[in-house]
């Protein structure tokens, strides 16, 4: 539509409002006030339900969740990383992409594209027709956006947490994965384990598997089909086949970004040297 036509139309709009319009106060203000009262009422209602159905104990959740969880503890490892609900769609997006090739698409690519498209809306759609039936592209596009945001949020909200009850699976892991044998091989060849006797293999694997099950590893990683896939973290069932070596595993666990720049995995540097070694032997034995 030409610029002059647009200006004409807007001039006509201004004239119509002036001649036929109603006063903002009190007519529009009345509707706004009713709506605002509803909003404040809903907020107070949510706050009350949240408070009166929950308890003082950390994690004592009511209908709308707990008042707080345990105090932040940088050295604890059994956490579940979860953002507020309106970031669930981003969070879930990161499950769809796999490290390392395409994670950047989920963290940066898609959100940036979405933002640019949103900013560009007035410059893409330059028509003047406002009736929905005559704007099929806009209607279909908005339905698609609403559906995908809705589904991603829902999936993020109901995503199963991996770690619960994982310890029961440890004997199965060790047997199926032949982990003790794997660990003997690691001890025989890995320079970081010089001086460790092969007899310790069973002990180290068991300790590592327990740490693995108790820490948050399974919130992000899959292992022999258990756990969940978050933030594009790899399946660790055959981690030993990558030839990382025990020292590399220890460094990675202590500070993931030192070995893997841009890693989303949190640091497990609060574990002791021995624990890190056991965990690393467990990981390397999985082949």
């Amino acid at each position: 539509m030409s610029t002059s036509r647009k200006r004409e139309e807007f001039a006509r709009y201004k004239a119509d409002v002036k001649n036929e319009g109603k006063s903002f106060f009190p007519y529009a203000v009345f509707h706004d006030a009713v709506m605002s009262l509803v909003v404040v009422g809903v907020i107070i209602g949510l706050a009350s339900i949240w408070y009166f159905t929950s308890g003082e104990e950390p994690g004592d959740a009511g209908i709308l969740g707990p008042r707080y969880t345990d105090e932040a503890d940088p050295s604890s490892i059994g956490f579940v990383p979860r953002p507020d609900w309106y970031f669930f769609f981003l969070f879930y997006l990161l499950r769809i992409f796999k490290w390392p090739e395409s994670v950047i698409l989920g963290t940066v690519g898609i959100p940036t594209i979405a933002l640019v498209l949103l900013l560009a809306v007035p410059f893409i759609d330059r028509g003047r027709e406002r009736r929905l039936l005559r704007r099929p592209v806009a209607v279909v596009a908005s339905l698609l956006v609403i559906a995908s945001l809705g589904i991603l949020t829902w999936k993020g909200a109901t995503a199963k947490e991996g770690a619960i009850g994982a310890e029961a699976a440890i004997p199965g892991w060790i047997e199926r994965g032949n982990l003790v044998e794997g660990a003997e091989g690691v001890i025989a060849t890995d320079p970081a384990l010089a001086g460790v006797s092969p007899e310790q293999a069973g002990q180290l694997v068991l300790e590592g598997a327990e740490l693995f099950a108790q820490s948050a590893c399974l919130d992000c990683h899959l292992f022999q089909g258990a756990g969940s896939e978050n933030l594009g973290a790899p399946d660790l069932t055959e981690e030993g086949l990558r030839g990382r070596g025990v020292q590399w595993q220890i460094d990675h666990l202590r500070d993931p970004q030192s070995t893997t720049p841009g890693s989303l995995m949190p640091s497990f540097g609060s574990l002791s040297e021995e624990q890190l070694r056991a965990l690393s032997v467990f990981l390397e034995s999985a082949r």
Binding site: S4, K6, R7, F10, A11, R12, Y13, K14, A15, D16, V17, K18, E20, K22, D32, M35, S36, V39, V42, I43, I44, L46, A47, S48, W50, Y51, E56, P58, Y68, T69, D70, A72, P74, F79, P81, R82, P83, D84, F87, I104, T107, V108, L115, L118, V121, P122, R126, R128, E129, R130, R131, L132, A138, S142, I146, A216, L231, G262, L264, P266
Partner: protein, 268 residues
């Protein structure tokens, strides 16, 4: 005689009451500006869907008011933050209400903002001459999400701590600026005292300041340009007319468009 005396006194009282208002008006023009704002015309067919903007504004004001109160009792330090949150929630009179409203108001605010965005989209209200206001709206949306992200850390519980660890890592994956932003947010090697202080300052000074400025600009443009009629309206302001109707109106109300553009910028 008596009646006239009373009315003289009445006039005096009236003048006394009006004096401060006139004083302000003479020095600022604020009184007439407020009148122009309140008694400006809007299309006669505005719908309930168009209350979503002011509903969003109300939710934002709730966040400001409750946030100010929370800031009086919250201690932004890893050693004390968690205890102060517990104190506010469990011990302080009405503390649970203030914190609960702030916490749930944030969600309501975000939902309302998306609904408002949706109604602007479905009404095609982002078109000329309102494109700039759409752009400002998107900026407001991004800043609001950042406000949510920075606020989430403040209770300093496990949920907020680890969500922030991962959130900062995600920030770090962005090309070029990503690592710098991540380092800046952390403020040190570990997420700790510096991080919390930074998040607190961003959450209660910088981002709200930006939001207030942008919302002010947004509302200024809304009053300057006016809101559109619903697309389904038969009597939409600015509708196309056939010749006859236009001429007839021209006879009844001479020069209906004269002066109408006082507020518009688009007179070629």
């Amino acid at each position: 005689m008596a009646a006239r005396a009373r009315s003289a006194r009445q006039q005096q009282i009236e003048q006394l009451l009006l004096a401060p208002i006139n004083w302000i008006e003479e020095r600022s023009g604020l009184v007439s500006a407020t009148k122009r704002f309140l008694f400006r015309k809007v299309p006669r067919d505005v719908s309930w869907a168009q209350t979503l903007g002011s509903a969003t504004l109300t939710a934002f004001l709730v966040q400001l008011a409750t946030g100010v109160i929370l800031a009086m009792y919250y201690r932004p330090d890893p050693a004390t933050a968690y205890a102060s949150i517990q104190h506010i929630t469990n011990d302080l009179t009405w503390g649970w209400l203030v914190r609960g409203m702030h916490r749930w108001g944030a969600s309501v605010f975000i939902i309302l903002m998306f609904l408002h965005l949706g109604r602007v989209f479905l009404f095609g209200a982002y078109r000329y001459p309102r494109e700039l206001n759409w752009l400002i709206g998107v900026l407001i949306l991004v800043l609001s999400l950042l406000e949510g992200f920075t606020g989430y850390l403040l209770p300093w519980d496990q949920t907020s701590y680890w969500a922030t660890v991962v959130g900062i890592n995600i920030n770090g994956t962005a090309p070029i600026l990503g690592p710098f932003i991540a380092d800046f947010l952390k403020g040190g090697a570990e997420i700790g005292t510096e991080t919390l202080a930074r998040f607190y300052s961003l959450h209660m000074l910088l981002i709200p300041g930006g939001l207030i400025a942008l919302i002010g600009l947004h509302l200024y443009l809304v009053t300057r340009l006016g809101v559109v009629s619903p697309p389904w309206s038969k009597e939409a302001a600015g509708r196309e007319r056939d010749e006859v109707e236009t001429r007839k109106r021209g006879l009844v109300e001479p020069r209906p468009r004269g002066n109408a553009n006082r507020n518009g910028s688009d007179q070629a």
